[in-house]
Assembly symmetry: C2
Homo-oligomer: 217 residues x 2
């Protein structure tokens, strides 16, 4: 994945890149959060997230070690990766993966207010399942108080992607070896009802027709 | 993703966990490599990988900054994550994601020999597309010389997973809100022929019937 990529380090508020960053963040489901652990060695943890404008939002138990460390004002790197397909070349050497990724550097800010936490939880829930928030029981204040919410600016975000066919050495194009792309897609399967559903409750349209990216996104 | 997870820190050579680690590593396509960058701040980069027994293999251009840094004997954390589905609870607070992840700590070793590099490239190619290696043009020695290959032991690997239905607060089970799981699967689409294929060459069975995890794995 490291060959033939395009690195677009953001010029301040570059509109095109900002839109590309938003699209990738809105399509992916989890991010990988990197920070220095207690012994100084790097730690990389997957977690859910949401986006509110140009801010990435993370949440977890207020007792959790990961978010406590990251919320302590340390340098953090958050990476989000979408895999679009496999790239099969005629030579072993030129095999690759088509992907889109966003890398965000910065320091996270702790969201202190109960309203700010509620808004973050809404952004994270709606990020995972758009349309879900109006249908669920909203968080109690005690739940929000027990939740640590972190906000990370997208100011230091960059996009890296690979797309398109394999690029073989010129002489290898004469080989009778199949080459091309194998696109991959994340596809929802049939929803599984919880065994304790109230009688007659059925999966709503935003679950039955779930897709990433969203139809309108 | 941070609630209700099971952390299984490996007892030395614990067989069960070792098999679970292998299964997750063999199913996923990319890992996220975390290390301290030039300025000491954490960096998290997605990249392809392979597995040879209890060793994770990474590769890239010998001129590439990322692998050069990681190959310099610094502490590294490599994380691999599979997303199995969305967990929709009756309350916003208990939404979650079903996943399986492996976190590996350690220091990577540079693979110096040309034979070792060839074997690593084979493991990485076969990891991405099982069955591919015998059909492609093998690496030239000059390609291997220009490739940096790193090996990371799985000795310090641990598994973290979430599976199963949502867990709501007892009083919320009375709510007429749909709850359950929405399984997600990575599904290959129709292969796209490279525009310069030799006439008559068709996508082989291991491409047309591609799936993760492998049918026999």
């Amino acid at each position: 994945m490291q060959c033939r990529t395009t690195l677009k380090r953001l010029p301040k508020r570059g509109t095109y890149d900002r839109a590309a960053i938003h699209r990738i963040l809105d399509e992916a489901l989890v991010c990988h959060v990197g920070f220095a652990g207690a012994d100084g060695a790097p730690v990389v943890i997957p977690t859910a997230y949401g986006r509110d404008g140009d801010t990435l939002l993370l949440h977890g138990s207020a007792a959790g070690r990961m978010l406590q460390t990251v919320g302590g004002g340390v340098d953090v790197c958050v990476t989000v990766t979408l895999i679009d397909g496999l790239v099969l070349a005629r030579s072993a050497f030129h095999h690759s993966i088509n992907y889109r990724s966003v890398v965000i550097f910065g320091r996270a800010r702790v969201v202190e207010s109960v309203d700010g936490k509620r808004q973050a939880l809404r952004a994270i829930t709606e990020h995972i399942v758009p349309g879900r928030w109006p249908h669920v029981r909203e968080p109690y204040e005690k739940e929000l108080k027990g939740t640590l919410v972190l906000a990370l600016s997208l100011d230091e975000a960059s996009v890296k992607t690979r797309s398109g066919p394999p690029l073989d050495d010129e002489e290898d194009y004469a080989l009778a070896v199949w080459a091309g792309e194998l696109p991959l897609r994340v596809v929802p399967q049939a929803p599984v009802d919880d065994t304790r559903l109230v009688a007659g409750v059925e999966a709503p349209p935003y679950v039955r027709a779930y897709r990433r990216p969203r139809a309108n996104g």
